[in-house]
Amino acid sequence: MEQQEQQSINPPLGNEQAKKLLYQMLLIRKFEEKSAEMYTQEKIRGFLHLYVGEEAVAVGVMQALRPEDNVLCTYREHGHALVRGLKPGVIMAEMYGRQEGCSRGRGGSMHLFDAKTKFYGGNAIVAGHLAMAVGMALADKKMKRDQLTCCFFGEGAMAEGAFHEAMNLAALWQVPVLFLCENNLYAMGTALRYTHAQTNLELKGAAFGIDSSTVDGMDLLAVIKAANTAVAAIRKTGKPHFLVCNTYRFRAHSMFDAELYRDKSEVEEWKKRDPIPGYFNYLLQQQILTDVDFKKIEGQVELEVKQAVDFAETCSLEPVEELTKYTYSEKQD
């Protein structure tokens, strides 16, 4: 039965789906590399947090979600936004601070929002969105809507009291939240062992009686399986689940980070587990894709990223007169 359930949750990847996932990972990678470039050119300002190396997590988890599910992320959310279906152009425009951006240019890199895809940020107070996620799931439960809320956060966020309160509330209320920890081993420059006395993060779920699991976040197929299992359980029981994805960020915390806190060799070691070649090799082996296909996809991605920049370049600044607009809702009369 175990076996059967696994299978129904994880049908073998169809060719189209297989390609799409690769496309998504590549899109994140190239989009972010371009973003870094645009940052250097001072087209993008503020904080810019890149997800490079962690792509398998967003891609693997997001495919388990439905359009009606809610998604909440941190400030390291370009990847999630892209996979959730925000157009690269509106994200780039947002980072350019243009009003055609997904948040009218008001938010920048850390605050991507999109009502259409139920993408609730882009939240830059670490762990500040966890309780909101619980509340959204509570609303769904009260309204008897069959949908779940997926909340991404880092392992650093788990030291905040906010994590503790949100987990307890979700468990008490039995609401459908997927608590998705992206454990990339660092919170800025603070390594996991300096953040948590108990470094086996999954154990923290037990303190709230929440079902928990851990997966290799560098392995897309493993993430897909773990996410599908978790999501299926949430949909079935209506209860929260805590999933830890062990991953690594290849680049600095943000563009300001001199990376004094870790050895280059450690980064190089992890790069050997880069999720993109890892997954592509699997596709090669399975004869789902060829090198030629890869090049083709890569070309499409590069074109899409280029178009995003081109679009952002054409976009306009919000008139300064609109500064205070939307501080309060406009009167509906």
Binding site: R104, H111, I125, L138, A139, L169, T327, S329
Partner: protein
């Protein structure tokens, strides 16, 4: 039934009951709102009437359940979150300031947060330093919030409905010391605007501008002043953010004098702001400098005589205004 006495507590309770009856999306959540009956018995029996889905007891997790309230509001509900007292509200202030107050603007108008947070504020029960705060000024500083202060039975009874109808986060301050106070409730349920201050007593000699517990104190003082031939106008700010500057300006333009009364401690208070606005808008109308009578700049001590000394008393208002008018 005009003439019937009702407590401030009962006014709040009726408002909540009515809201729960009027809209399925409304629910209350907070510490001890259900089984305990509310820390101040405001929600007594509501659990029995509406059930645990609508009257939700929460654990001690102010940040958590306020955050959840924001999320539930985003999800289409109309939560009334009770933070038992303002003293515990700082634990949730990050949620209020960084999420509730910013989401609409930061998302370019996409996500509004129709949340109401109620909390009990102020001194008056000898609860000492950690349980006697009047933190309205902290909240009144934050853009994106609407801050209401319930200084009368009328507002206790009728302000909740428009607050729930507001598409944006509204914070309602109620006052522990007034819960048992009985007054006549005006008969009409005339629709209350939560954008306007209200002149509670018209007068021509001086404007006493206040809010919260200051309203009845000011009215009491005004009655005494009237006996001394001084006709004071009492302005109840009601809405501490965004301030209704026009009502203030109109009153001071008429009386040419202003006296500000507030329980919160003086520095960087709502009265500071009112004084600054009068400076900006009414300087040439003023016959005398605006004066403030605010809370003492001190953690509130437990003993009655020191607690009384740390907030304005009606007698002080009377004396100060008499002096002010002699002087001018």
């Amino acid at each position: 039934m005009p003439g019937q006495l009702i407590t401030y507590r009962e006014c709040i309770k009726q408002a909540i009951r009515e809201a729960l009856q009027a809209d399925e999306r409304v629910f209350i959540m907070g510490e001890d709102v259900g089984r305990y009956g509310g820390a101040f018995a405001v929600s007594k029996n509501l659990l029995q009437e509406f059930g645990p889905e609508r009257i939700m007891d929460t654990p001690l997790s102010e940040a958590g359940f306020v955050g959840a309230g924001i999320g539930a509001a985003l999800g289409g509900m109309r939560p009334i979150v009770e933070v038992m007292t303002v003293n515990f509200s700082l634990l949730a202030l990050d949620q209020i300031a960084n999420n509730a107050a910013t989401l609409l603007h930061m998302s370019g108008g996409q996500f509004n947060v129709p949340l109401v947070i109620r909390m009990s504020s102020g001194v008056g029960r000898q609860l000492a330093a950690q349980h006697s705060h009047s933190w309205e000024p902290l909240f009144a500083h934050l853009p994106g919030l609407r801050i209401l202060s319930v200084g009368t039975h009328e507002d206790a009874r009728y302000m909740l409905a428009p607050a729930l109808a507001d598409p944006d986060p509204v914070i309602i301050f109620e006052y522990t010391s007034m819960l048992n106070l009985e007054k006549e409730l005006p008969d009409s349920a005339e629709s209350i605007e939560i954008s306007k201050a209200k002149v509670r007593r018209a007068g021509k000699d001086i404007s006493i501008i206040t809010y919260g517990t200051g309203v009845y104190k000011a009215l009491e003082a005004a009655t005494e002043l009237a006996a001394a031939g001084i006709d004071a106008e009492v302005v109840d700010l009601r809405v501490l953010r965004p301030l209704d500057e026009e009502t203030i300006v109109a009153s001071v333009a008429k009386t040419n004098r202003a006296f500000l009364v507030e329980d919160a401690s003086r520095s960087v208070s709502v009265s500071s702001e009112v004084s600054a606005r009068i400076m900006e808008r009414c300087f040439y109308d003023l016959d005398a400098p605006v004066q403030r009578l605010c809370g003492a700049e001190v953690p509130i001590p437990y003993p009655k005589h020191l607690e009384d000394a740390s907030v304005p008393q009606p007698a002080q208002i009377v004396t100060a205004i008499k002096t002010l008018l002699q002087h001018a």
